[in-house]
Symmetry: C3
Subunit: 176 residues, 3 copies
Amino acid sequence: MNTTSKERAQGPGTGAEQRLKDLGIRLPEPPEPFGIYAMSVQSGSQLFLTGMLPTRGHTPQSVGRLGAELDADAARESARVAVLNALALVRKQLGSLDRVVRIVRLGVFVATVGDVREHPKVADGASVLLQDVFGKASNPSRVVVGVASLPLGVPVELDLIFEVTNSGGPDGPTEG
Amino acid sequence: MNTTSKERAQGPGTGAEQRLKDLGIRLPEPPEPFGIYAMSVQSGSQLFLTGMLPTRGHTPQSVGRLGAELDADAARESARVAVLNALALVRKQLGSLDRVVRIVRLGVFVATVGDVREHPKVADGASVLLQDVFGKASNPSRVVVGVASLPLGVPVELDLIFEVTNSGGPDGPTEG
Amino acid sequence: MNTTSKERAQGPGTGAEQRLKDLGIRLPEPPEPFGIYAMSVQSGSQLFLTGMLPTRGHTPQSVGRLGAELDADAARESARVAVLNALALVRKQLGSLDRVVRIVRLGVFVATVGDVREHPKVADGASVLLQDVFGKASNPSRVVVGVASLPLGVPVELDLIFEVTNSGGPDGPTEG
């Protein structure tokens, strides 16, 4: 249930970049800011991402709230799209997804109307893809809540904190 | 208002495990995952818990939203139940609650309908128990919001980050 | 987009305290707790603040929800008032705002009713002031969501994490 770095011993070729290739996933262009903030901030070994939305460019790929305009399957797919944006952003910031040691926190905000209870199903749209790419031992703690509304009218927003290392990427980027 | 480790000098026998015993509290079985995530992740000295719910096993002990199906007293009791789950989980992960140095963050999500303003009263159901167990000097920063809905229909979800030490538990567990 | 300490090289006299003076801003009295929690907790180099509200003393300066009782301009101003409280609190806790290395995370919870999409405009009320005081290179990652209700009926609550240094303040406070 709780995982430590020791449990993550992996041979060469089993890193996140390789898994992404094996899954046949091509990442989109990384998201750009809509406002006055950084897309990510690294504090010590923790990389905090700005809230990831199901967008392409500045256009939402899905609009609506669970329990009103959208069903759980559509919201779940939105969570997956938001993860693809997160992966593109992390690769851009770190040079390689292989610099991710683990995912510390996945927060999933689902826009809901009424007495909705399918939040975990929606959140799993993000969790399945993250596990496919980073492996089970890197799974995050997870906080899932139903909110009243989200920016741009999207159904899902992700709050992600990664633990990263300054070595380990194929191109060996180093920072202070 | 702000507390440092220096202010926490405590004699033997006044640790969290002893206080729990003095309070006559027996912890429940620690919660198990409902999905694809870890119940907790340690990053440096910070232990992030998955969102804690007022559940026993996979069954919610309370269902409803403040301002609709539930009143503030019932939601407050739910916050307390969620803390008991958190304590059980932390003890399981760390071996002993005495390895908690302080609580860094307590986030309280309260499911609400309409113009509700009793969130702090609900959140205090968590805060009182945490203070009773860990002492005033370990009190967390707190973020309390009213959300539209929560997983399983529960009225309260807790977001907890603890600062932990690798020594200090009675059975002296050590990691990395 | 991502910023590192290296990009923040600043000459003397360009720190946050000086900028605040240049902007002609006088900070209010720092907020006091409404309940059983700490106003801030430092964990390593991260300073977590309790959720900052648009209050003076224990009195809300604005009440209402976006999409119902308030419009985006009013909510935006509330976000600015909450930042002033945050600045007053950080100065009190650290001795000087110049000990802030960067802002790691800005979470903005906006109370909303219905299909609201102006959250970023509201959040910018906080972001503009933070950038004015700490500079662009210190801009945080940002997570903005629309919630159902907030404590005291306020329209905005801020979740702030700062990275701080033990040196750098004019009065040179040092801790452990």
